[in-house]
Symmetry: C2
Subunit: 412 residues, 2 copies
């Protein structure tokens, strides 16, 4: 198994999302030495020869032609992907938009989109015979990497930055990774982990990782299938490191290259206004973002003051005529409640930034008619952040068993 | 829509799971007036003419021939069902069992199996033009009914018994149902809700409900498909009210009637030893269970001292040569950690009772070779009960950014 992995490794190509293939890439860095943009692991099947295998059970198998995998080991899967694309009729109607849908990533094995990237990175790592993986995280990434590491029988190192909640710690901890709280800047920790990992033989699969990015493409392919082999008109997704949004865009780019779609969706990336370096750079027309002095938001999962793929996001969004904007904590909490009340969907506030952004765009007339389907990517479950529910209104009535009829009748 | 519903209602048949069709059933009671066992809503397509539509996207649509639905309204779905059936290789190997799998119900929209029953009951209610639903719950049922009620635009009444955690309250509350804390016995509340509901026009879809039971059959159909159109040798599931286990058994019974399976799986129902009326009656050889005087377990989701379908479970398990047993809180917590550590699956302790029971059966030589696949039904996500994680061991290392390499090297 390890031998076969070593032999096939030579076929593994990692290229810059901007510059394309390079002669001598540094395999331990996720960034291009020429331009600094992220690298992505490219599929082994050449463009033009890729097809979707709808009859296969796992998402990894359906879209394997578009992934950097020689083969899929189903034993390393936890049943990630193929999450529902549910219509948001009431939410859409309230905005005068006929076709709004949610891609509910909370229905992944560890209740967030991270599993798509983790499973591809772990498949690759295990095939190479590497037994140690790691990640840098405050929450969803920690749980996902710890779960898939446990699944594959790997030794897993989770580096936690300050501010990780006790719940996040325990949810990752149940899989028994090494949990290491690191005192220091998150951006520096991201880079240091890769350097140290290279020395110690630990593959760090952080938010921007060539195989992780490839995994995030799956969401694009699934949306395409779920819409009856058509692209949506618009995709709205939260942006933190930038890796997820880039993965989504690369997925639609793959479909474009295969001639499966002609129109490219309009991408809207959303940040929290308390930490919005990309939205601010976009508004200012800058090519590079500036790190905010202060970070103040409840949206910890997307509060990244120095997104590693931030400048790449700025470039891609501009080239594809997309948008980047920010929403307030109040707006995202209101949108979270609206999705739960009107549609029965309970997501993280970070995921609800997508609806908050859509409301802003609709109110300011920035959505034209006939734009096609609008897909909000809801990145994680509301169960991940129970503490934030305490801000939601809650009315509890008390009745005795004898007073049940009267009590209920009063509410009618 | 409502008119069509009224016309079609006449076709809706509800029959006792033991006595079969009755001439004049009381439509407001989920129990047979003759024998007291639960009623189930029967499919509209007659036996022998039912087929599985594998090409349809929703679980409800794939198995509609086996459901009491004239049609499926996809708008009322949240994408429930088709949860992964993941292999548990390490867990199986440790027990000397080659083929153990988990049906991971945590990947349903509200992170538990309840959604399967709720969606069928809500489809039916909405088609009839009824606008008010309710349930009696301490946790998973409340969240599920509140979510689907919100989805369908129904007014939803959630009756909560004492001991509901603040988290459960808020997770259901985010969908804005009427939350009513009722002071009084849970068993009496179950019955009172149905009576009061009938008077006030509120359809209470409690744990034992004819349409809910029909929805739970879906899990059996999916397992059958996921095993390549074969039945498992054994199905292990937690037992609380008894509705879920009966639904699972009815599903395999449907497949048997269609000639799709010949061998019927051996069913193992598991309770918490701190509240195990059915396991105790089974061991004592009694036909009827006795209510325990004291309930003491961390497993709130299955701590039901007076399970409404309990005697039916006892009968069915005996007839089908199954088993009922109880496991301790310590055993279920250990099994929860084992699933997380060895397999990457994070479930509720109540769900982990299934592995705890399997370990007992394997240790006492009660599992014969060649029994076929063993399926553990993991009913809900570990994220539902974060408080219980505090008992799990957790080791956190602290390092500075400069000390990262040294800190990691020490752990290797």
């Amino acid at each position: 198994m390890a031998g076969a992995g070593l032999e096939k490794r030579r076929m593994d190509k990692i290229e810059c999302i901007r510059c394309g293939p390079l002669e001598e890439p540094d395999p331990s860095s996720p960034f291009c030495t020429a331009c600094g943009e992220p690298r992505v692991a490219v599929p082994l099947v050449r463009p033009g020869a890729r097809s979707i295998r709808e009859d296969r059970p796992l998402a990894l198998e359906k879209f394997v032609d578009f992934l950097p995998l020689e083969a899929v080991d189903p034993e390393l899967s936890l049943g990630e992907g193929m999450t529902p694309l549910v219509s948001l009729r009431r939410v859409g109607a309230a905005l005068g938009l006929p076709a709004v849908r949610a891609k509910n990533e909370a229905q992944n094995p560890t209740a967030s989109f991270k599993d798509r990237g983790t499973v591809v990175a772990v498949q690759k790592t295990a095939a190479r015979g590497i037994r140690r993986i790691g990640t840098v995280s405050t929450g969803n990434m920690a749980a996902s990497t710890a779960a898939y590491g446990a699944r594959a029988g790997l030794e897993t190192f989770v580096l936690l930055k300050e501010g990780t909640t006790p719940l996040s710690l325990r949810v990752a901890g149940i899989h028994r990774p090494h949990l290491i709280a690191v005192d220091g800047d998150y951006g520096e920790l991201f880079r240091a982990s890769l350097e140290v990992g290279k020395k110690l033989g630990i593959v760090f699969m952080n938010s921007v990782d060539p195989h992780r990015l490839a995994g995030y493409k799956l969401t694009a392919f699934e949306i395409f299938l779920q819409l009856g082999r058509r692209p949506p008109g618009m995709v709205v997704a939260p942006v933190s490191s930038g890796g997820h949004l880039i993965g989504l865009m690369l997925g639609f780019q793959d479909l474009e290259r295969e001639g499966m779609i002609r129109a490219f969706p309009r991408f809207v990336g959303v940040q929290a206004s308390g930490c919005a370096p990309l939205a601010e750079a976009f508004r200012a027309g800058s090519q590079r973002y500036e790190r905010p002095m202060v970070v103040r938001t409840i949206a910890h999962a997307i509060a990244n003051p120095a997104p590693p793929a931030g400048n790449a996001v700025l470039r891609l969004i501009r080239e594809r005529e997309g948008l980047l904007l920010a929403v307030s904590d109040g707006e995202m909490l209101e949108a979270q409640r609206e999705l739960a009340e009107a549609e029965g969907v309970f997501c993280q506030p970070e995921s609800a930034t997508t609806l908050a952004a859509l409301k802003i765009l609709a109110a300011s007339g920035q959505i034209e008619d006939g734009n096609g389907e609008i897909v909000l990517v809801l990145t994680g479950s509301g169960l991940k952040t129970p503490g934030l529910l305490e801000a939601a209104p809650l009315e509890l009535h008390n009745v005795s068993l004898e007073g049940l009829e009267e009590g209920l009748a009063r509410l009618l």
